[in-house]
Amino acid sequence: MAATLAPSDQLNGSIFSPAGALTIVRAGSVARELENTPDPLTIDLSRVERMDTVGAWLIHRSVRDRGAQVTGASSELQELLRQVAEADHPAPVRPVGERGAVAELGAWTMEAGRTLVGLLGFFGATLVGFLNLIRHPKRFRYNAVVQRFDVVGVRALGIIGLMSFLIGIVIGQQGAVQLQQFGAEVYTINLIGRITVRELGPLMTAIMVAGRSGSAFAAQIGTMKITEEVDAMRTIGVSPIEALVIPRLIATVIMMPLLAFWAMLMAIFGGGLFSWISLEIPPLTYVQRIAEVVPATDLWVGLIKAPVFGFIIALAGCFQGMLVANDAEQVGLKTTAAVVQSIFLVIILDAVFAIFFSSIGWI
């Protein structure tokens, strides 16, 4: 039979006789051919010129599972077959724990509950850290705080200013379109003044700070957890709460009302520019009207909310950062979680504040 062999694989009854290179490149087709060859199987390797471990594995697997006979293998091929056989230790490939939908929902609920409890616990730990600092004021890290002032506050001025300026214009424009229908476009000024000072100033600032700084806190602290910097700190006796969390908290709490005030000013400025150009209200009149229609309590409402929002944002950011363990993917996940969580909490708190301030008569 050997005399009539063409230089290609031959299927002759139950003899499988591959030719040329038996390597990973044609492993897929060889595997299928082997499958289609009926038992009892004989594999003739005499025409194989080159074989790699994948080719050897295919042969080995046929011998193991189907009791195939191997003939014509040179000593080199035999050696390779022997090595592959030696390495034949089945191992699990996929991670454990694929869950059903109900179990997934349960796990998610548990996780959400644990996160909330964890956040409360973290809040407690931070308070304890504060008390310790008050007792040992020398340990307070002024430099770290000042550095955060710059990053959280000063560097955010541009983007928050621009955003608020545009929002002022949008509110003015949308308000004017609606109010014109009643001939009441002069009330656009009331709308701009009150909504930016009381609501949008602090809220939009909070959202921007959550996206800029809350996420950065989570990513910074998370990366430090992975590189074991946080562990190193602990062993040296530096409390990560004091060194990492409290400076960020203080900086954000102090910067938020300043940024919110800046946002209010820029929004009023944007609204004023729109009123001047589009409604032909002169700037001086606009400023006078703003001062008349925006009560001082509105400013207080805005400026009281802002630091609380800042506290929540910094707390959630640092907390999520501290939750990072093991691998780089977690940094991304926890950073996202920090932003989502802090914006969510900020909006809930905003609703609570709205009810509270109305009920004490600051309408």
């Binding site: 595997a31 089945p90 191992a91």
Partner: protein, 261 residues
């Protein structure tokens, strides 16, 4: 004794007049190197002499400022990604820090190159291939479905090696594979590389600081200093040279201890 092989020989890696610079800093200048098929070549040099940069230039991750690099007979500089794919398939790389994909299990890591180049293999066969590669790399079967973060440093190196071997490469690049391993682990890793090299007929480009590895497994050693490869030879012959760095490196207390071992 010259650094390059005679013109007739066809080295598996051929580097000529390589120059690499970062801004003002010149890392390599006029660097020549030939690697023979089937040898384990050790690359040594002080920290920051550009061993990793040399490897990155050879495998095409870094475009050199000047010079030519040929691997497996193909020019590597300025290649399109697609064209270079056929060459990339023929080598395996173990990065200095393992560079395992952290969101995949060890076995899934080994399957990544298989899926990339041979998607038609089928899941079952791929799983089997991953398993015997894991076993060949000296990992216990339980490691298969663990994530890299759950492994020790030595196991991570072995997992990286398993991934580097996934496609049965002809050429294996190892960047400081034994750094950070305990001496017993490092010795075991050396032996593993030696035996795999013999079994699978590999050419190994081994960057190392580990004198024991050099003595134990390298056929030749290339010394990187003064921005180029100053010598390539067996350790015995290198010892005859009177370059100060070579003398200090191999004849310092650690060098002598390794030689005695």
């Amino acid at each position: 004794m010259s650094i390059t092989l005679p013109d007739g020989a066809s080295p598996i890696i051929k580097v000529r007049s390589l120059e690499n610079r970062f801004g003002d800093q010149i890392v390599h200048q006029d660097l020549d190197l030939d690697v023979r098929r089937g040898e384990i070549i050790g690359v040594v040099g002080g920290s920051g002499t550009g061993k990793s940069v040399l490897m990155r230039s050879v495998i095409g991750l870094q475009t050199p400022t000047a010079g030519s690099v040929e691997v497996l007979g193909e020019n590597m500089i300025g290649r399109e990604e697609d064209e270079a794919k056929n060459i990339r398939r023929r080598w395996g790389i173990l990065f200095q820090n393992g560079a395992l994909f952290s969101t995949l299990t060890v076995a899934e890591n080994v399957e990544v190159p298989l899926r990339e180049y041979f998607p038609k293999l089928g899941t079952e066969l791929m799983d089997e291939i991953a398993c015997y590669k894991i076993s060949m790399s000296g990992l216990p079967p339980e490691a298969g479905n663990k994530y890299p973060s759950e492994l020790s440093g030595g196991m991570r190196k072995r997992a990286g090696l398993a991934r580097a071997l996934a496609l049965d490469p002809e050429l294996l690049f190892l960047d400081e594979p034994t750094a950070g391993l305990d001496p017993i682990g490092a010795q075991a890793f050396d032996q593993l590389i030696r035996s795999l090299q013999k079994k699978l007929d590999l050419t190994v480009f081994l960057i190392t600081h580990d004198l024991d590895s050099l003595y134990a497994i390298c056929d030749r050693v290339a010394v990187l200093a003064d921005r180029r490869v100053i010598a390539v030879d067996t350790i015995d012959r290198l010892l005859q040279m009177d370059h100060p760095w070579i003398q200090e490196y191999f004849n310092g207390p650690r060098g002598r201890a390794a030689a005695a071992a």
